[in-house]
Amino acid sequence: MKRHIVTTIQLLCIALLLATALAFINPIQQTNEDVITAKALVQMIAEDKALIIDARPASAYERAHIPNALNIIEGDWEQSLSNILDMWQSDRSIVIYCDSAQCSTSEQIAIRLKSDLAIERIYTLQGGWEAWQKANQ
């Protein structure tokens, strides 16, 4: 029993050392998860200052979406990234939304975009699609 405790601690220590080394080799860039309201997004759309990304499943996007929103292609991040770059202009912010306040896909995509594209002005829509619908009823 004592031997198992010792070997378990040894394995955990090795993993801890390895994790520390990995963190130095490949650090995660901390991102600033900014959030904007549906009202602010309406203003940004009016000024043509936003590239909107719909992070919901394709079926939900096809039913309805924010005008000119680009849907992320499920399971093909590289193609989605390429589509975003095609549409993005340097004076535009990127706004990502998913279903509601309960979903986190928009936050995940915001983190990935900041990591992959090094674009600073990336926001998530507070309350997602649900909030957008309420604000535009």
């Binding site: 394995l11 990995l22 995660i28 860039q29 919901r56 896909t105 995940q108 983190i111 990935r112």
Partner: protein, 146 residues
């Protein structure tokens, strides 16, 4: 240990080792994505989520290798079982809370519709295999001692 039992335990151990090595490699390829996936569970504060994005794949790779070293085999299987139990509980809690998570299990970051029964079933299967290996190892140790 009978030859059949020996083949079964070696095969299952090898399978677990490969699965964990693959899971670790896919996570290490994109730690930012794993970090986002951990955050999607909304269970842990940021100060914990960030180190975990490195510790989980590091632990998985250590387990994958340790499963082949007789001195560490039983401990590695034990850690693996605890890890699977924690993963299963985290997924089940997210399901109960109605969250839309990305499991982060094999590096994938986006799954618009989380298939909770599949994720939980898969983790429970791995947990059961780990349990069988622990039992089998203890049985073998008892038989040898006896």
């Amino acid at each position: 240990m009978t030859p059949l039992r020996c083949i079964a335990t070696t095969g299952l151990r090898g399978g677990l080792s490969l699965i964990f090595a693959y899971a670790a490699i896919t996570k290490l390829a994109d730690p930012a994505s794993l970090h986002a996936d951990i955050q999607s569970y909304r269970l842990l504060p940021e100060v914990v989520a960030l180190p975990l994005a490195y510790f989980i794949p590091a632990l998985e790779i250590v387990i994958a290798l340790a499963l082949w070293v007789s001195r560490y085999r039983q401990s590695a299987t034990g850690i693996l079982a605890v890890l699977m139990a924690i993963f299963t509980a985290a997924i089940a809690i997210s399901w109960l809370r109605g969250l839309d998570i990305s499991c982060g299990c094999f590096g994938e970051s986006r799954s618009p519709q989380t298939n909770y029964p599949y994720l939980i079933g898969r983790d429970l299967l791995l947990l059961a295999i780990a349990g069988f290996l622990i039992y089998s190892e203890r049985w073998h140790t008892a038989q040898t001692a006896g």
